[in-house]
Subunit: 399 residues, 2 copies
Amino acid sequence: MNPLERKFYKLGVENAPGQKTNPETSSEKVSNLIVDFSHGDVDAFNPIPGTLEKFIEGVRFGAGQAYTEYKGKGEIRSNIANKISKFTSTTFNAESDMIITPGTQGALFLAMGSTISKGDKVAIIEPDYFANRKITEFFEGEIIPVQLDYINNDSSAGIDLTQLENAFQKGVKLFLFSNPNNPTGVIYSSSEISTIAELAQKYGVTVIVDQLYSRQIFDNREYNHLCAQNQIDFNNVITIMGPSKTESLSGYRLGVAFGAPKLIERMEKLQAIVSLRAGGYNQAVLNLWFSEPNGWLKKRIKQHQAIRDDLISRLKTTDGLFKVRTTEAGSYLFPEITNINGEINSFVETLRLQENIIITPGQEFGSQFTNSFRINFSQDHTTAVDAIDRIINLAKEYN
Amino acid sequence: MNPLERKFYKLGVENAPGQKTNPETSSEKVSNLIVDFSHGDVDAFNPIPGTLEKFIEGVRFGAGQAYTEYKGKGEIRSNIANKISKFTSTTFNAESDMIITPGTQGALFLAMGSTISKGDKVAIIEPDYFANRKITEFFEGEIIPVQLDYINNDSSAGIDLTQLENAFQKGVKLFLFSNPNNPTGVIYSSSEISTIAELAQKYGVTVIVDQLYSRQIFDNREYNHLCAQNQIDFNNVITIMGPSKTESLSGYRLGVAFGAPKLIERMEKLQAIVSLRAGGYNQAVLNLWFSEPNGWLKKRIKQHQAIRDDLISRLKTTDGLFKVRTTEAGSYLFPEITNINGEINSFVETLRLQENIIITPGQEFGSQFTNSFRINFSQDHTTAVDAIDRIINLAKEYN
């Protein structure tokens, strides 16, 4: 294999959300029989009311909306910068410190591409979002793993801070993590976030924090924004957010990144050669974000919390067949099937073929998670509960 | 400068289309006084009729349209593959040989990222689209320039085929060019295309051809698709097209690439970490492409040809102040101002400040084009003619 072949050999898409299409049904509305836990179901949880109307306004606005600056239309950046400023308790400049991107995936790629040079050490949590490792490898960074003992903690996410400091001492340039964590749905505690801020500051490490699910917090838990910590220089942090999950706007491909102006400037330059800008008309939809109807977000959280509770209670009444931490934010569950002996891929495949249920194998989030799987429970409530029963039944047969 | 700083130092966005916003007006509908020749005006030439309705259908379709495969929704790929097959007189498989991308810019980035490794030699035409050089540099390829003597030819584009073969002999891995050429609007002749195909085949060079403007051909000229040449292996060619220009769909960010299945597969893997997919609902709009109302394309071409004719006739009646080749396809003109002595940047800046007219300086297309500028004449006819008169007047003052 030449270097390019090696690079792409490591990039797989088969287990990614939306990739498992059934050839027979992919051209029609997906059959009700299929339950796709690899991503949320926007038919069960619709986009923010008025989304399409905002898009249409954008189209009617015409040329000024079709061709925006690469970092996004100024008026829209101002609008959301104000709202995100309040949400995160930070102050930043919409002109120099923020960019609108094609989804949070776009933000992540641009932020990492603006930070990682060949051979740079990048600290990455295990488990964490699969693209973190893939993008690091694409830019030829060196991954330094940091463990998250999510299963044996309940008052913190469980990051190994000693390991993190060791990694920083070894010369890590970039630390990248999602909060709430994807795939486990745990939130980093106040003390964890402030220690991360201190350590990053002490060792001069840049931090990219993916806060995609930070609005969907259950049980009124405390959530701390890294960018709001006094201990860390704003110029060393990029925060990523977007309306694709809780707000169900994934089909519009919108995200934002804000923070270090030097990195935002690079991200815009990179965006100019990657895809120019987030869809011009699509950007208009962002004006609704953080301006949802009264009670809309609260209701959405409540509905998800109810699904979570039903799934967790079922998984926990199986005589220890599953180990699972209760989701604290977002829509992910990351159960471990005890005694499955590393056969998660075969389990996932059998489940798909026998039950028409799609789940994401644990190895996507770290090679050691050979007994775990992720589900996105942003689904129709009844469907999700029925499907978890079928997952439990298959797991019982496996033992 | 460290390697990353150097990399981004070379990536500039200031002169790119849509980037020159006037701080006072950027938040409002752009004033009529501003004429922005850096890109086409979709208020003057609207998107294909029915575009918005197709988008709305996509939204109504729901989850199956929001979350498509990374390479795009199968049904839509089949639809456009059929039509592009006919248009280009080639046969290819919509499943393995095609990807839907976020604009043709997205296609270009993915195609080049799937082909260029550090140190690879990449042959690039001068002048040609500015991102070609920027993306090559981003992936640390080595640029081997090939001259296009567009000004002294009229029966061919004017590519220096000896220089191209020399470049291929030196070990070029990738040859990249736009046809029609951006910024000059010239079409490669039948003999040029067949020689490019022969040479690429002889030396095993991969070719990426950007055919963004290949539907907007003036004077019923002959146009040859590289992918349809018998001399070249389909597995060594990627063709890029999209509805952003002639069809005015830039605000929807849609493009396609088709060709070499091995490269398409890599492009999908790369798309999975870059931005997941072209906006799901946006993709639905592609069903209208190549299915426009009867006579729509013909009329659009005729209207652009009329603008071209008026601009050219004005530029040519200035006693040799301008040298310009007549656009054969697309909406670009690339006039050279004789005797401006390399001062194009100052001319561009003065024009913007004094006349509110935005044009793109020649150096964006190759460092030697210090007397040239590009305009996109897909504008309101009267506005374009009025603006060219003001450009001519300013050029006269400069002499």
